[in-house]
């Protein structure tokens, strides 16, 4: 239990710094930056307190917003993803999710890909909807969400698989 708390605190800080220092300066193809901080929301322990989870997700998003000068865009998207996460868990992992002791490193790779892509696309759609804030630019919104999502999904999967706990 203690171990899980420490690892989540470290993950929070490291992902925030990685996001701000490295990932916001990638500018792949001129404008694409991955939002890797969603890994924190994806990997937060399932059986933990949901209220705490919502508050942590909100704070993480708000800190990213502060660094990026983007108002409340990332906070809004993070809180939505945190609230909607059980849906994605159920969709991707099926009955296994009900056991409440899901270890993300040990799951089937196909299910993990489904879970990560679903969450990331959902998160990015909200980010760009709030950022552009104009329904008449829906094509631009979808295009941006698609490209950013592809990049983020690949990077998130690589990072999750790279740092998974071996037991």
């Amino acid at each position: 239990m203690n171990n899980s708390i420490t690892s989540n605190i470290i993950r929070f800080i490291v992902l925030l710094l990685v996001q701000v220092i490295i990932c916001n300066n990638i500018n792949f193809l001129g404008y694409i930056n991955p939002y890797v901080y969603v890994i924190f929301i994806l990997l937060f322990p399932v059986n933990n307190n949901r209220l705490l989870f919502l508050i942590l997700a909100f704070n993480l998003g708000l800190l990213v917003d502060m660094f990026l000068d983007s108002g409340g865009v990332h906070a809004g998207a993070s809180i939505c993803l945190a609230y909607a996460r059980p849906l994605f868990l159920k969709y991707a992992f099926g009955t296994m999710y009900d056991h409440q002791n899901l270890k993300f490193g040990h799951t089937d790779i196909g299910a993990l890909i489904m879970y990560v892509s679903g969450c990331v696309i959902f998160h990015h759609l909200i980010v760009f909807y709030l950022e552009i804030f104009n329904i008449s630019q829906i094509i631009l919104l979808l295009k941006k969400a698609l490209f950013y999502s592809i990049f983020t999904v690949i990077l998130c999967l690589l990072l999750i698989l790279l740092f998974k706990t071996r037991k």
């Binding site: 404008y31 930056n33 998003g61 502060m66 660094f67 000068d69 939505c80 950022e131 552009i132």
Partner: protein, 273 residues
């Protein structure tokens, strides 16, 4: 009463979600209007400190390029100095107009962005360097943006690459005014809108600041005309401007302090009332 408590306890997750999402949404809406994003911005000591540390490492990588820019600027300044010598010396200085109208403060860019609809830069000057909201920011080549939020040590700049920014600009050759906006597609181009149909627009002409506001002095470079189209109504031109500045590699910028801006503002407010 009991039922209300039960309802709150049963739906506490949903209620917390709605509360936090409401906060995020209001912050977002606030950030979409001009000069309203006071609460969440990168002009504070936490973000400034982190960006400062990163910048102190990163600045070594483009020293060569920055040196070249400085040398280019020195060449221009030296030429101006040599060519203007002897012209002004015979003029007696009138003591009542002795004070400088513009002052310039240099600053270093800590954070730069150019791929979201509203872009901001963070610089290492703030209130203690007498920076205030609505000061203009330029480089040796052209304009960068307008100071948005300031803290003690840091400030954020609303870049010209922003949907919110509208800057008064004109054609250098014919003095026709327009306003400079950005359509969020490319960081190398901005758009000059509302230029009268009677203006003589030629590809390659220079666009400079118009000087109708107190923010920028007249005649600071913005860019060159790349192409132009007539509006759907046919009354105005929309001009595609290739910016002089490379907004993606900004490192050193200058902040313009207009000493007359207070006076101009009070005068304009008098007119509005």
């Amino acid at each position: 009463m009991q039922q209300i408590f039960n309802f709150v306890i049963r739906n506490k997750t949903l209620l917390l979600f709605l509360l936090l999402f409401g906060i995020a949404l209001s912050l977002t809406i606030q950030s979409h209007s001009y000069h309203k994003s006071q609460f969440i911005n990168s002009a504070n000591s936490l973000t400034g400190g982190v960006y400062g540390t990163v910048n102190s490492i990163g600045q070594y990588f483009d020293l060569k390029e920055q040196n070249l820019i400085l040398v280019e600027e020195n060449v221009i300044l030296r030429e101006q100095l040599l060519n203007s010598s002897g012209r002004n010396q015979s003029l007696a200085i009138d003591s009542s107009f002795n004070d400088q109208r513009f002052e310039i403060i240099s600053a270093e860019v800590y954070k730069n962005s150019y791929n979201s609809p509203n872009n901001y830069l963070t610089i290492n000057r703030g209130k203690r360097d007498s920076i205030q909201q609505d000061f203009g920011v330029i480089t040796s080549k052209g304009i960068v943006g307008i100071i948005d939020n300031t803290s003690n040590k840091f400030s954020t700049i609303l870049s010209i690459l922003s949907k919110k920014s509208r800057i008064n600009a004109k054609l250098k050759s014919s003095n026709q005014n327009g306003s400079l906006t950005w359509n969020t597609t490319s960081p190398y181009f901005a758009q000059l809108e509302d230029v009268s149909k009677f203006a003589k627009v030629k590809i390659g002409d220079t666009i400079v600041t118009g000087g109708q506001s107190a923010i920028f002095p007249k005649g600071i470079g913005i860019g060159k005309i790349e192409s132009f189209t007539t509006d759907s109504t046919g009354d105005t031109y929309t001009i595609e401007v290739r910016l002089f500045n490379n907004m993606t590699t900004l490192q050193h910028v200058y902040i313009i302090i207009n000493n007359n801006s207070e006076e101009l503002k009070t005068l304009e407010n008098l007119n509005n009332e």
